[in-house]
Symmetry: C3
Subunit: 678 residues, 3 copies
């Protein structure tokens, strides 16, 4: 989807008029226009309404909604409604019902409720998508397709078991190969017939969602499950595309959601869209990281912010209100990191069921005289004034952090060395250091091209996939700077250990051998002692979680452990290779180390922070058509004065020039246009 | 049941001689008489003994027990034994077995184990009740019927599912109405056939006992479940009444037990009876509140304390002994709040199974030379001396707190705004303030008459049922003082939001609009700042949990928030209506506010504390025949001197006059008779 | 098994060459020899490899492994491989699959996965054991049989239910007897047909692994489950013995593992073997206690340490490395307490599945140049030098602590008085006091002969089995000193209370009556006040958990409670009987009381500490052929100087004489040979 062709940033959200008496629709239209909105995601949960039984379809209400939207100048993000199946389907085609982790066949209820390998679900969902596409392919309101809704969860039914076996045959071809790659001789699990294989759940190999006897089996099931849902998506995608080849198709992702390999999904999406629901205690930089991950799914292309709440959520433990200004601030945060839309769940609050206390543009009171509406309308007006300036702009980054869903699964399935090791936490540690430094990063997959980056980081690169080592080595030889950490290079793609000494395939690149891995208790730390100062790195730092006991082979030792029986062993090494260098961080350092270390690396490569970074102030930039747009976002509740160069640029939100010391209100935002060279 | 006709307060408890060799029965009789006991609850768990198979009944042992009791001057509270079904029934009529929340059909075991919608259970339980009534209808020992035992729990089997659909048809008549009231269009749950509806449990709409996707469905299932058990009770009730129309029938309730709507049950009980098992850390005022709730079930009529432990419980984590005097103190606490019996579980300790370490009159040692026996015998002697003085006396109260089971269910099923909101806690906050002030309250249902009260409080009146608003408005217009709180007036009886601005139907009465509801984290507070002092209300107080952001429309603002972005918005408002006033407490204040606020309201209406209130000293009174009986209960372990008017009255327990400063021993009790005008 | 006939202590561990390409086998052999190893436990998880289907057996690989071991001078501890069934068996003979506590029939997966009452499992497991014995009966490598692996867990399937009924018929003969012993009249559970009885799990009588409605049922099921697994073991045992009557047979136990009654198992084992996996926070004395328990299983005979990790575990939350020296220290700790082997899990680390991060002699790096290998090889060398000196030596102890699995089950199934009461904790409290005093103890069963001991302790002897009282009374009358505690003598073997006053059968022996039992909250304590000083007992001490309120009848009161309403009641009593005395400790005292009290008892009987005891320094001794071997083990990380008599003996590890003050390195060990009289 080429958002650059839009006249302004999309602004709107989820809208379910079919849940209301049509008598309120005109009022809805009035208020949407009043708030400056131009897009509505509709039909998300309408399957049961559209299709009251196996053979009947009824599009009358949807026709009316589409026409109404068009008449009011609002585009439709038209959902296929397959996110929740109808009750009659559950009753008459029980294969649509999932079997859960505990082996229980579910009954009708909830959403995310269809078995991805259900023949009935696949037939019916493809058919409804097809009917919708056929009917609305030429409707003038149709801007975008929204397949299903927030795909997720797992199923362990017999249909899934059968499909899993087919998937395995395609992957391994022979049982011998499968037995080898799953190391089934351990605990005497050798399979002699494909039919002996059962899904790994609480009745077989797993005793918790991330505790398994056989990592290989569980890892493949995670892949299979992600692929199965992707197949469901693709069935709908293809059905739609056969009618509307030029209308973009997407589905709403969920950021760092664990169960689906979004890099694989992104290949089949015309544009990335995602739902941003930070918890009240989510670090702001974590949200930024997630935006950057979503942007990274399609190589840096702008994405859609498909959902956020105008104020309150309902499903957190304590659903605090978004304080005045926060909705606007976080909306611009999304834009700063690549969003070309601001959309809400939801435009009108439902009167019953579990989301009735979730924020909405139109609250239960039903009019526009609310704080929440006013803030939404103000933002709507600003977005109108911004026009298409930012649309399609790209994020310039010289640093990349590698992220991989399969690696995450494998790390978190691991039995030992520590349950405290969470992949996302380690990724965020690295991300946050750059964030605090004011240095923009891309998040890339294990398959993405690295050569455009000055620095590439692969934290906890536990699983090294085929060909990765060669690509990283080539990147370094060409002058790249690569950083990886403890618990990297341990296994191949099926969680089989690379023998011959950790970090396995990466050992030559890094010039070290990790003999042992010590796991620290939550209240334990060790120290990192610098041998000499290295840039801004000096003195000593704290570390925790895991400590690799490494031997430098070719690498230079930059820092050592300060405590315990491995005091004096290397904690940080640097290995030169060709024109570049490869770093190994043998433990999980504290934030002060991270900023000093990564700051030094950037400084040596001439990577400069964006202007305006201060504590609590976030900076980010996007480039387009020879202009740069610097976002300065004050997450503090109080005013802050930010220093800029004289005649630095123009604040698009105020229309005023920015020059020298510039105050920015608590929770305020500046979007400063400059020439792209800055 | 007219307890006023008894010659003395009933004293006794659960007695299971059929679990023992008859050789010990004479010794039991001797010791019961020694302890001054005159009632025994028998036959509670005898079903398997009485009915060894589908067609055989054997009442010989029960005949002997009834005769023995009569011979020893002990009345029988005769249970119908249907609280636990026999093993043969579970095996041969498996529909009696429940299916649990997780969808698992249970096997034989435990108690509370029968499906309320099991045809076999209903047939067999009605039949055994009928046989018992026929057989013992003229037995001179028979004083009272005790149906089943501590009804509770839930079932989700197919019989329940079918019965639920019948129940729903009766309630909603049409699926259209049901779909509307459950808001099934949300998440595409529209039902086209009654058969598509399944009970809400872990396999369908719920993922925990109070977490649901569809509040309307779960709420109706809670009602249906309570009604289904009530139907079981009524079947037995009717069967008994056809033989003994004049013998009262009851069942033992469990205080604030959540799952059964006791106000609805009370209509079918001849007298309320309940089991009082405070945990070691239960606030004393919580126990008082529960007594008052039980008294409120039948409009203030005296009730039976059916069970309490003489000393130790067995099922708590740490089963501390009741300290010397505590059993007596808590027994009088029950009487003070309306009990006309003191009964124990159990009279003789069992030798095996899970309650063998639960306290009893007769311990395992088997003789009367124990502390526990001595304390029981002392109380027995006192009760004998009190005679019928207190029996049938009523509790004078000018303050009522409204309580409702359906409201509780709805609040605790709610998704948002805060999991910390517990209806009982808020009710207790209000109750405790009056308790600490020494002011007696009634607890009434949402349907009870209000006009007799000077002050009526409806804390967290989330659900407003049809007609309630009109009744409350009329009460206020007639000069009443009504107090309600945050999160009131939100929904109607099916948890559908009342549109047009919170607090919905109550908005006009209260003269406010609640625009938003902020949820505070557990470690967060806000402040309540008094605009002027109001009676003893002055200065500032702390509040927490939820803060409504309200606008006073017609109401007067008495206090405002002190902090956060809504500082200065109203925290306490007062609206005049007709001759009365309606208060809105927009948040959950601390105890000092509660006492100051409610104390002021009482003072302005001339409601005076009972004499004798001091820290740790509880006061309560009952009236009868022109006399008032003031209970002064010292929950402190140390002696306290209480001040009374000169020649105040006569302490029934000592026979001594009470006048001026009067010492009361640690854990001591006074029951002071005065003329009722005091 | 007579380990005394071996030429040196066995040294080796679990070895799974069938999980590897035979290309690495020669390297394995080289490294095992390099480490001084002479035994390998093989074939533990090979069932699926040995038997690819119902009718086919293939021993070729195992033949090669056996031959290779023999050729390299390594003996085989040959496992029967039945610890995990093959996948084809799960598919084709589904009765081998267990049904879990929640009533779910499992699918293929994990280990410990066979139903003990599965006809197919019993047939197939006996058959494979038989085939192995037949094939390898004359193989020169065969030293020892290892049946199955770490028996454990439970099953609740219909086959188990049927077998349980058979087991019950054998035990009780009639339903009347069963109904009486289970006290089924409680809660109306009377059984009229054996078929009505179902296993106690989450669907029937239990709601957690140690929470039950009927202690008697759950206790019998625990016995039945232990017996059922023992039957499986015995089937294999007998099959093997019919071919190799002279080769010892064992299975690897798990120390204090709760579910199996190892005293009963030990009767059918030729030698005890166990797997020692202390958690990082396991007290060192707890490990010693467990060794002593394992030694006690066969009356003090030496046992095999079958498994320990060379360094890291994988299944703990935080798997810290064993610090340098700790593996050696803990190995000698095992020997000090009776081990005649040091064996590891595992010799080579697996490449895949859940134990790949568990320590091994040969790590993933694959060579011997690792810290772990070096420590193992050093120990191997030392064991070679020690030769057969220690083999078959016995532990001299004058103190015995009684321990019983059924007693533990009954205590922990109890509903009341406190969930905090854990049998093992109380046993360990007593054990630890002796440990800190440097006094060696035996752990004996409730059936073992007591007369050889000066002091016998029965902490929390809740269940008194038939004949026990008589044996203990006889022991005391003959001059013995017996100590027991609160919550003793309460029930008989079926958890039926002994009526007539606690401590039931023991009341006469102890000369007291326990009227009540108070349970203290976790933050509560009481005080123990000495009436006079008694030996080193003086002043006051703290106690917690439970406080019996006792009356001294014939006993002398040595100490009283200091607080609460039972201040002044006895807390410690001593009753003289014949030539001996019986003590009752009415509560759970702190460690300072335990050491003072038990130290006094020992002092009065002339029981002297072993030399060398200091804080953090453990001492233990073994005797053989007129020599005594004193183990001095410094668990401190720092050096300590230990005082010995002049010319005390010879340190076998250094070959140097020990005389006077002797330094012992941090984590160092001395094994000092003296004449046995010392």
């Amino acid at each position: 989807m080429n958002t650059a062709k839009l006249s302004k940033m999309l602004y709107g959200g989820d809208y379910n008029p079919e849940q209301w008496d049509p008598g309120v629709w005109p009022e809805d239209m009035r208020m949407l226009r009043l708030a400056g909105m131009d897009i509505a995601t509709i039909n998300v949960f309408s399957w049961a309404k559209l299709q009251p039984d196996e053979n009947t379809y009824n599009f009358q209400t949807l026709d009316e909604i589409m026409d109404m939207l068009h008449k009011n100048g609002i585009s439709a993000c038209l959902a296929t409604s397959t996110g929740a199946h109808p009750a009659w389907m559950a009753r008459n085609f029980s294969d649509v019902l999932r079997t859960d982790f505990d082996g229980r066949r579910r009954k009708f209820g909830g959403r995310h409720n269809s078995c991805p390998n259900s023949p009935s679900y696949r037939t019916f969902s493809e058919r409804i998508a097809s009917r919708l596409a056929e009917r609305y392919k030429d409707h003038p309101a149709l801007l975008l397709w929204h397949v299903s809704n927030e795909y997720g969860g797992e199923c362990y039914c017999d249909n899934c078991a059968a499909a899993f076996r087919v998937w395995l045959k395609q992957k391994y071809m022979t049982l011998d190969k499968l037995n080898e790659q799953w190391n089934t001789s351990f605990w005497g699990h050798t399979f002699y017939d494909w039919e002996e294989i059962v899904p790994p759940n609480a009745l077989s190999e797993q005793w918790a969602s991330n505790r398994t006897n056989f990592q290989g089996i569980s890892l493949d099931y995670a892949r299979f499950n992600s692929d199965g849902m992707l197949d469901c998506y693709k069935l709908e995608y293809e059905a739609i595309k056969s009618f509307t080849p030029d209308i973009p198709v997407t589905t709403n992702l969920m950021g760092t959601y664990k169960q689906l390999d979004y890099f694989k999904w992104a290949k089949h999406m015309d544009i990335i869209a995602w739902d941003n629901y930070p918890a009240a205690d989510t670090p702001v930089s974590f949200t930024s990281m997630t935006h950057d991950l979503m942007r990274g799914l399609k190589g840096g292309a702008p994405f859609l912010l498909m959902e956020q709440t105008p104020s309150q959520q309902n499903w957190q433990a304590y659903n605090s209100l978004k304080r005045p200004g926060v909705m606007r601030l976080w909306s611009y945060q999304a834009v700063a990191h690549g969003a070309d839309s601001i959309m809400f769940f939801q435009l009108r609050r439902s009167v019953g069921a579990c989301e009735k206390y979730h924020g909405a543009l139109i609250e239960h009171v039903g009019h526009e005289h609310t704080r929440v509406f006013r803030e939404c309308a103000q933002l709507g007006e600003e977005l109108g004034q911004l026009g298409n300036k930012l649309l399609g702009s790209r994020t310039p980054a010289k640093v990349a952090i590698m992220y991989d869903w399969e690696n995450r699964w494998a790390i978190e399935f691991s039995s030992g060395p520590s349950i405290a090791l969470q992949y996302l936490d380690e990724i965020h540690k690295y991300y946050d250091a750059f964030y605090q430094l004011g240095i923009q990063v891309d998040i890339v997959s294990f398959e993405d091209e690295l050569n455009g980056y000055d620095i590439v980081l692969g934290p906890v690169m536990y699983m090294v996939k085929p060909g990765m080592t060669q690509r990283i080595e080539a990147y370094v030889e060409n002058g790249g700077c690569f950083v990886t950490t403890f618990f990297s290079g341990i296994v191949g793609e099926n969680d089989i250990v690379t023998l011959g000494g950790y970090p396995g395939e990466l050992r030559s690149l890094l010039g070290i051998w990790a003999e042992e891995i010590d796991a620290l208790f939550p209240d334990q730390t060790n120290r990192i002692i610098m041998k000499d100062s290295y840039g801004s790195l000096a003195g000593e730092y704290s570390c925790s979680l895991l400590c690799d006991l490494i031997h430098a082979e070719r690498a230079e030792v930059i820092a050592e452990y300060g405590d315990d029986f491995y005091a004096g062993m290397p904690a940080l090494t640097r290995n030169s290779l060709g024109a570049g260098e490869a770093w190994y961080v043998a433990t999980s350092p504290d934030a002060s180390f991270m900023q000093a270390f990564l700051g030094s690396l950037c400084a040596k490569r001439g990577i400069k922070p964006l202007p305006g970074k201060q504590p609590g102030v976030e900076v980010a930039s996007r480039n387009k058509d020879g202009h740069s747009y610097l976002f300065v976002m004050n997450h503090n509740p109080h005013i802050v004065v930010v220093e800029f160069a004289p005649d630095y640029g123009l604040d698009l939100l105020t229309g005023l020039p920015v020059s020298g010391p510039s105050p920015i209100a608590g929770r305020g935002v500046m979007i400063i246009e400059t020439s792209a060279s800055s």
